[in-house]
Amino acid sequence: MKLTLSWLRDHLDTTATVEEIAAALTDLGLEVESLSDPAARLASFTLARVTHAEQHPDADRLRVLRVETNDGEKQIVCGAPNARAGLVGVLAKPGDYVPGIDTTLGVGKIRGVESRGMMASERELELSDEHAGIIELPSGEVGQRFVDWLAENAPEKIDPVIEIKITPNRPDALGIRGIARDLAARGLGTLTPLEIEPVPGEGPAGIGVTIDPSLKDKGCPLFAGRVIRGVTNGPSPDWLQRRLTAIGLRPISALVDITNFFTYALNRPLHVFDMAKVQGDLVIRPARQGETLLALDGKTYTLRPEHMVIAADSGPESLAGIMGGEESGVTGETTDVFLESAYWDPITIAATGRALRIHSDARYRFERGVDPAFTLPGLELATRMILDLCGGTASEVVMDGAVPDTRRAYRLDPARFVNLVGMDIPPERQRETLEALGFTFEGDMASPPSWRPDVQGEADLIEEVARIASLTKLQGQPLSRPRPGVPQPVLTPQQQREGAARRMAAALGYNECVTYSFIDRESARRFGGGGDAVRLENPISSEMTHLRPDLLPGLLAAAARNQARGAADLALFELGPVFTGGEPGEQRVALSGLLVGGTAPRDPWGSRRQVDIYDAKADAEAILATLGAPAKVQIDRKLDGWWHPGRAGNIALGPNRLATFGELHPRVLREMEVKGPAVAFTIHLAAVPLPKTRSTTRPALNASALQAVERDFAFVVDERVEALSLVRAAEGADKQLIESVRVFDQFAGEKAAAQMGAGKKSLAITARLQPKDRTLTDAEIEAVSTKIVEKVTKATGGTLRQ
């Protein structure tokens, strides 16, 4: 919403400066987005008189002027045809910034003749597009500031323009008068009275208006208008054109400019039909399926019954409350017009405008809510202006419907204000504030004015009082703690351990990423997602169409981008939501880590090697430990399709899958353009059981004083026997005595097969025996060892390696 200071002053009698007004507007909730003050741009220019003008010795079109200035006589080279002795104009000196040519002047030489400044044209000073010659002033003294001269002789030319961001609750502020009312309530002047003198109609309109009964209750409560005959629709007067131009509107013709004037001045959109092009009476009715309308924006709209039109015999003439039709629009030849002023239902207008994607000043205002009570007064004021500017005679007013009853009242409780806002504003001041905004009182019940559809409760009264009083004055008051003393922890165990897992991942060397929750369909499909339930109806790009089923697609895409930039070794992780469906709550938190390339840069110690699944497994286990997962878990191979079928595993507690680790499927890597090797893990944080009871007490340490004994065994087994089955079998040999069993060597591959037979490998384990009450005898150790060999042999079909 744009306005000029002088336009504002039509409605507000004030001595405040434009800066004061701008500051107050922002503070009132009418945020000033820009303030353009031409006077500030023109401050340095002064008046000067040309005393001599001679032909430039070296250029036909240039003249050399001698100019009398407040700083003595200067020589200036000038190309303007009107530059001549005796002319009083506007001087820009070296050092001055000239806005119209975006240049700071220096002392120049033009075709060999020195020039100390310039005599400016209107365009060079951004006063108008006039550039035929330099400015010639009819009055003024040499040395006088140009802005002072303008203020005295042409104040409209230095009229400041203010642009305001209007929040959706303030339709009244979409008219300049509404803005003036806020400023008056704040105390920055007084609201000037708005005289409404009805124009008596001369004779009947000769056209009927009817609202279809289906629309009277909601779509169009009130439609009014009158015919004005014998108008001349030429250009509007300068003052009106200047105002519209100043706020960015293009003057079109007197009639159109008048409707725009009322739209912006009083938030009263109007429409004029050319009577010569309207056949029959006007009916406000739902559009018929498939009807079309060529609107004023030059586009043809195909309509449906939920759209509302103003129709004549020939069909729709206007999209009600949104945009007029091209056919019945006024032109320079128009002589008889129908001037419409109606009240349209905001919801209907919003729905129609949205469906047809039409943006117009009328839609913008009607969908936020114009003042229904001003429908008829607005018609009278506009009639008056048309008669004044275009001539003609006005008929009687024709109308259907009635001003909707918006009366309502809410209790103003001054104590509640103080309690809620924490500002001490006396009751009488609160009441005065509301009255200044147009509220009326019966006892302590405040009725909002008809132009404030946003006021719908007691809380709105409080907001108005606070806004006008200025929230800038609000002083902070300490918020007491919910309980005295040391604050209690607030994070849930799940939140706490999520944080710990994130820090552990970083400690393990991974860089945390935050990638988008939506990915492309192909990537989603590769990871078990990409269905319609998780599809976005209106994605912002084809790369972001589906909610992610997994974190790895995002990390792989990040890896590919980094590889393209030359980063070969990557350790990336993300902790965030993944989506199992499209209903609220069908999401869970996962943590995925991705390792690509080498484990380390090349160094003298040979630290560099390619990452493998045991790196991913180690990191997954470290993070699971941080999450409090039990040490004893199962590992299975019921793998999702994006893992390498033989080189990945799930870490599980029975059917409860805690994590997956391993190599990614080579096809997935190829499709996602990641150069391998790439290993990864995914941890399902919520699947890791939380401790059942929370106690700070640790179990007692049971550290035996007796020496533990370690015994090593090597078994020859089939190459696909899993080490864990061997360890579990050995552990089972004597649960009391065997403290732990660990794999310490594997001998597999071709050499092993050559030694031990095709398809065989050797696994070596060490068992740690911890006696509890006395030192073990050799015989006892021997007995346990035998048992271990038996158990392992039985469980794995292997043999002790000789």
Partner: protein, 360 residues
């Protein structure tokens, strides 16, 4: 009788002259070995009278001890010399690189979320979370944004696709974390203090917008919590978060459907030299929106507005991270450029805390 004094001098000289451990061992055997000179002299004691034996025995023992001590001292000296000689040859290039230890980083969004959490936790706010796919009721209606409200259009909402025949209004990707406030009220009732951090989504992508970003909202409900309490809470938050002595906030009236009165909050700052300083200067920077919870919103949360009142606020986590840490481009937050992650990320050990400070 050999003169013991002469003998002593002779042996001690030989000990001192031994050039290496082997020579020293020879001396030891020759002097104190089973067949060594001192041992042989000890044997002669048996042939002496008891008186003589007593005197002579004591003298010999003393001599033995003295030689033994000299031998030990000499051995230590020889060992030290040998060690010194060995160390002269032992040299490693200490400027060679160490064995690599990987160094990970925490993303600024996570770090700043923890910072915000630490501050509000101290003021008694817990952390509430909720679904990111939301029903339009939780995202809009419950927040006093009815279907036809113009504010709905201004939210640039992402909608979930609806299967044919499913006539429910489409779910949305939450446009703010406010629905979590409703869920928290429904679940926990009043009094209540929560912050709601998390991902939010808007259909907007340009220089300064990304279709996903992060918000933290706060909600405090009590019997007499006022807008003045809101201002103090935000002042305390900003002072702690930006780690400055003083901040100055300016409340400006504004409009949000879910709060009334509503205020945009500006913070006093200085941009001179292209660097942001909070708390000083002549500029104002809009950092958050806030207000007193609208009675209809309390009702939607199942809280009786005639008994309870409170405030709510919301701000961009990415945005305050950019302001605090001088990060220039929002889009880079989600691009996972390793150089960016390392440069703007935080060490695993940099856990923000009230007592230790939020940042290093």
């Amino acid at each position: 009788m050999t003169d013991l004094a002469t003998l002593r001098t002779a042996w001690l000289d030989r000990v001192a002259d031994a050039a290496d451990p082997a020579a020293l061992e020879e001396v030891r055997l020759a002097a104190l070995g089973k067949k060594g000179e001192v041992a042989l002299m000890m044997r002669e004691l048996g042939r002496m009278t008891p008186e003589e034996r007593q005197t002579r025995g004591a003298e010999l023992n003393r001599l033995k001890d003295e030689i033994d001590a000299a031998l030990r001292a000499r051995r230590l000296a020889l060992e030290d010399a040998a060690l010194d000689a060995r160390l002269k040859g032992e040299w490693l290039d200490v400027t060679l690189p160490a064995r690599p230890r990987p160094r990970g980083t925490i993303h600024p969004v996570s770090q700043v979320t923890e910072e915000v959490t630490a501050i509000f936790a101290d003021m008694g706010f817990s952390v509430a979370e909720g679904p990111q796919v939301e029903s339009d009721w939780f995202n809009f209606d419950a927040l006093n944004i009815p279907p036809e409200h113009p504010a709905r259009q201004e939210h640039d909402t992402f909608f979930m696709a609806r299967a044919e025949g499913d006539d429910r209004p489409p779910h949305v990707l939450r446009t703010h974390t406010s629905p979590v406030q409703i869920r928290a009220m429904q679940e926990l009732g009043a009094p209540l203090r929560v912050i709601c951090p998390g991902r939010v989504y808007r259909m907007d992508m340009d220089q300064t917008h990304t279709p996903m970003f992060h918000q933290v909202e706060g909600l405090a409900i009590g019997r007499d919590i006022s807008m003045a309490n809101l201002k103090w809470t935000l002042e305390e938050f900003c002072r702690a978060f930006f780690e400055v002595e003083e901040v100055e906030l300016r409340f400006r009236a504004s409009h949000f459907p879910f709060t009334e009165p509503s205020a945009e909050v500006d913070i006093r700052c200085d941009w001179s030299g292209g660097q942001l300083k909070i708390g000083v200067g002549e500029s104002w920077l809009e950092i958050l929106g806030s207000g007193m919870v609208h009675p209809k919103v309390l009702e939607a949360g199942g809280v009786d507005p005639s008994q309870w009142q409170g405030f709510a606020f919301g701000m961009g986590i990415d945005r305050i991270a950019m302001l605090k840490y001088g990060i220039p481009d929002l889009r880079a937050f989600f691009e996972s450029d390793l150089r960016w992650l390392r440069h703007y990320g935080f060490a695993a050990g940099d856990v923000p805390s009230i007592e230790g400070g939020l940042s290093r």
